[in-house]
């Protein structure tokens, strides 16, 4: 187990190093436009050259790379040219906001999709199964931008029941969260529900469940004690991977509802060629992606004895 964990950790570090190298190489292309971004569009070539020299951009790329990695490890993410603030001041704030959004989505989506998946998979082919399957396929097929437009047309414009953006003005109001959370739950729950259903249906057909039923155990006990424990293994990975999606993949929803989250920050950083911010955001996204992947792997191994002991 220790060797396994060490291996996973080593893979994680290797992936992050690879991505960080790729990142600095990609952004190197844009270094020439930095002076205009910081000093304004009317600067002379001499001013631009002077700025690049003063900021150390004329040094070899590997020197800057190690400096950047060192700074990041010590918590210094640089300065945002768009917001004129240290990147770390903005980053954690925005990540926190996205965390709040992800928390609400998770709290609703996970029980909902597991419940529906179990109901659906218990009796494959039943009317209940077909209805739930239909619903989850339809909602998962509608992209977030489409359901966002649809829901706000109905609830903001036509009915005037809900607020159209989050965080306008200083007072936070939980009703503002209803629309973005609904859009994300609608989009995300179908996938987990389908996974849960498939896993449940598979378990329900296995010999030991048949044995348990034939033995005369109460159906409720068969489901809760025997079927569910095994059926949850596959959806577990999917659920953990949703964290990655919710933290860095909800750009459209954050943009649409003007939510000051991490996804919107990533977009703004890219649109404004804010190099330090792009680098920091990308690295955070990578850490989240690799981290959740590792947790999913470890969790899966722990839950599934067939993998653990081979």
């Amino acid at each position: 187990m220790v060797i396994f964990l060490a291996k996973r950790a080593a893979y994680m570090v290797l992936t992050m190093i690879a991505v960080s190298i790729l990142l600095i190489l990609l952004l190197e292309v844009n270094v020439g436009t930095l002076p205009t971004r910081v000093l304004g569009p009317y600067i002379t070539q001499e001013q631009a050259a002077h700025w690049l020299e003063a900021e150390g951009y004329n040094r070899p790329i590997y020197v800057r790379y190690f400096e950047w990695i060192g700074d990041m490890l010590s918590g210094d993410f640089g300065e945002s040219t768009r917001f004129r603030e240290p990147v770390s001041d903005i980053l954690w704030d925005r990540l926190g906001n996205t965390g709040i959004l992800a928390f609400f989505v998770f709290a609703i989506m996970v029980p909902l999709s597991l419940g529906l998946g179990i109901l659906s998979g218990m009796k494959e082919g039943s009317r209940m199964d077909r209805s739930i399957s239909f619903l989850s396929v339809v909602t998962t097929s509608v992209p977030e931008f489409a359901s966002a437009v649809l829901l706000s047309t109905i609830f903001v414009f036509a009915l005037g029941w809900l607020e159209g953006t989050v965080g306008s003005g200083s007072a936070f109001n939980w009703t503002q969260m209803i629309l973005p959370v609904s859009v994300l739950v609608l989009y995300g729950f179908g996938y987990i529900a389908r996974m849960m259903r498939a896993s449940m249906a598979e378990v329900m057909q296995s010999p030991y469940i048949r044995t348990a039923v034939l033995k005369g155990l109460p159906y409720r006990r068969v489901i809760l004690r025997h079927a569910l424990r095994n059926a949850l293994i596959a959806p577990f990975t999917v659920i953990i991977l949703q964290i990655n999606w919710l933290l860095s993949g909800v750009i459209v929803v954050e943009f649409f509802f003007s939510y000051d989250g991490f996804g919107a920050l990533l977009l703004e950083a890219a649109q404004n060629t804010d190099i330090d911010l792009i680098q920091a955001c990308a690295m955070v996204a990578v850490v989240v992606a690799v981290g959740t992947q590792t947790i999913a792997d470890i969790g899966y191994t722990y839950l599934n004895p067939r993998i653990r002991f081979t």
Binding site: Y42, F83, F157, E163, G164, T165, S168, G169, Q271, T273
Partner: protein
């Protein structure tokens, strides 16, 4: 007011009155020109009524009594600002105008009115202008507003190192070497009187002072406004976070010179680039007013009872401009071939739902007082193909136009242009990019689509964008003859004479084919129905002196 009194304000005004009576100039031209010459707007409106026998109502005023109080919430991008004289977006001007002010304000009726200046008069030949400043204006740090502030501000603007577009805007105040302000360009006569001595005559001087980079800063201003937001304006800045929000609180009672400004504070919220979010925020009452909306959103606003739609025809436009030093656009024939493919009426219809006026590729709008009507070019593919062949491209041409992604009317217009040039064998790719990327390179891109805001006079834009070597000259156009004619037009107040000069300038610009100017667009915005006293100013300037919030 008798002729003598009018003559005392400016010798040109009595002739203008005669021309108005004889029908040689329109009422609008009369109002625009006489107010520039120093006649106050109410007197000018009254004269029109007296001479023509028809009342001309100035700006509509709210019928109810305004109520004091409340915080006005506006959805508008909160952009980065350092030096107010180098700002390049109306949105930045709107933020700044809460705290610092211009000498002259351009009303929603396109008429210039004194603001920090109380009045002005011009010499007969329009080279010497005397501005009297408001005596009761004070800075929010306690200092009195004086002529020293004005002289210091203009001196900064006219220093090329500042990098302000005012350097080109007030080029009549440059010294002959073009590296600073004229020695006697801006002179303090006494604490509240400033004299401007121009190198060349310029009727438009007061209107130039209305533009958003021309806000007066404190005499000790060091270049970073958010670090020391000292202003004479109605509000003080209490919070400023780029990309998020800016807050302003009204100055204490009796400290500010203007009796208006009914709201206690203003909160500006940035909803990002998505105009859906902006409109959603307005619909759900999270804001009271939005900065702008897309043309496609007009029907949605009309449907909702709680919202009010504002529309105005403007000199706002966009230009598909070609850089004359970049191949293949360094070839006049190529530029003319592109121009010959355009059907401006159809372009307006397809790209902007017909809500505006077709353009004529010379950047002077029919709403400008000095606009001269010149024969319009018709779409002519045979001519376009012949021009291309002569230019050395008999088999057609592959080119790319850079364009911002939002607002959508800009890429839409580029797409229509791309379709229109195709039959002539020109394969135009529209390279859509984020605003930030485009504005990094807008003056150097070989072919790009640039939006231009409303400016009250046609010559103002020509001075800003097409005069040789000025900072905002995005086409690299340099034509001494054009510059000379422009100098003459700047200094001519006789409407008829000026129109003849404009005829030549417009023709020259169009025939040199440096821009395809699709249309002049009507602009829209919307508010909640409890907002009172708001008027949509053609340059999207927010003037809040009459704005107040009624009970919702």
């Amino acid at each position: 007011m008798d002729t003598k009194e009018l003559e005392r304000i400016h010798v040109g005004i009595p002739k203008m009155c005669k021309d108005l009576a004889a029908g040689k100039v329109s009422r609008r031209e009369f109002l625009r020109t006489t107010t520039l010459l120093g006649l106050s707007a109410p007197v000018a409106y009254a004269l029109v009524g007296e001479i023509t026998g028809e009342e001309m109502i100035p700006q509509a005023r709210a019928q109810e009594d305004p109520q004091r109080g409340g915080t006005l919430r506006i959805s508008m991008p909160v952009m980065e600002i350092t030096d107010p004289s180098t700002v390049d977006w109306s949105q930045k001007g709107n933020l700044l105008r809460m705290v610092i002010e211009p000498l002259v304000q351009l009303g929603a009726d396109n008429i210039a009115r004194p603001w920090l200046a109380e009045s002005w008069e011009a010499s007969d030949d329009l080279t010497q202008w005397t501005f009297r400043l408001r005596q009761n204006a004070t800075w929010n740090n306690g200092d009195a507003f004086t002529a020293d502030d004005v002289v210091a501000t203009f001196t900064r603007w006219l220093d090329p190192a500042t990098g302000s577009s005012n350097f080109g805007r007030f080029n009549a105040l440059q010294n002959d070497a073009g590296d600073g302000i004229r020695e006697d360009g801006v002179v303090k006569v006494d604490d509240h009187t400033v004299q401007f001595n121009l190198r060349t005559a310029d009727l438009g001087l007061p209107e130039l002072m209305t533009d958003y980079p021309a806000l007066i800063t404190h005499r000790d201003f060091a270049g970073d406004f958010p670090a020391a937001p000292i202003g004479t304006g109605p509000f003080v800045m209490t919070d400023y976070a780029v990309g998020q929000r800016a807050s302003f609180a009204r100055r204490p009672e009796g400290e500010y010179w203007n009796d208006g400004f009914w709201v206690d504070g203003v909160e500006v919220i940035d909803h990002g680039d998505d105009t859906n979010a902006t409109l959603s925020a307005l619909r759900s009452g999270q804001v009271d007013l939005i900065y702008e909306m897309q043309i496609g959103q007009v029907p949605a606003v009309q449907e909702v009872e709680e919202l009010v739609l504002y529309e105005t025809i403007t000199a706002q436009t966009g230009v598909a401009r070609m850089h004359v030093t970049e191949p293949p656009f360094d070839n006049l024939l190529v530029r003319q071939a592109i121009q010959a493919c355009i059907d401006h009426d159809l372009l307006l219809e397809l790209a902007y739902e017909g809500l505006g006026v077709p353009g004529e590729d010379h950047h002077v709008a029919p709403v400008h007082p000095e606009y001269a009507e010149i024969p319009r070019l018709a779409q002519d593919y045979d001519r376009a193909r012949a021009l291309l062949a002569e230019a050395g491209y008999p088999d057609g041409l592959d080119i790319t136009i850079d364009c911002v992604a939002a607002p959508t009317w800009e890429p839409n217009t580029c797409q229509v242009i791309a379709q229109m040039v195709r039959p002539a064998g020109i394969n135009l790719t529209v390279n859509i990019m984020p605003g930030g990327t485009y504005w990094d390179r807008w003056t150097v891109a070989p072919f790009g689509f640039t939006s231009w805001t409303h400016r009250p006079l046609g010559v103002t834009v020509l001075n800003l964008a097409y005069r040789s070597g000025v900072p905002w000259n995005e086409t690299g156009y340099a034509n001494p003859e054009f510059d000379m004619l422009l100098d003459q037009a700047n200094g001519t107040y006789d409407v008829d004479e000026r129109r003849q000069l404009m005829d030549q300038l417009e023709t020259m610009l169009r025939d040199d084919a440096i821009i395809v100017q699709p249309y002049w667009r009507a602009i829209h915005t919307a508010s909640r129905n409890n907002l009172r006293g708001f008027e949509l100013q053609p340059a999207r300037e927010f003037h809040l002196q009459n704005v107040w919030l009624a009970e919702a």
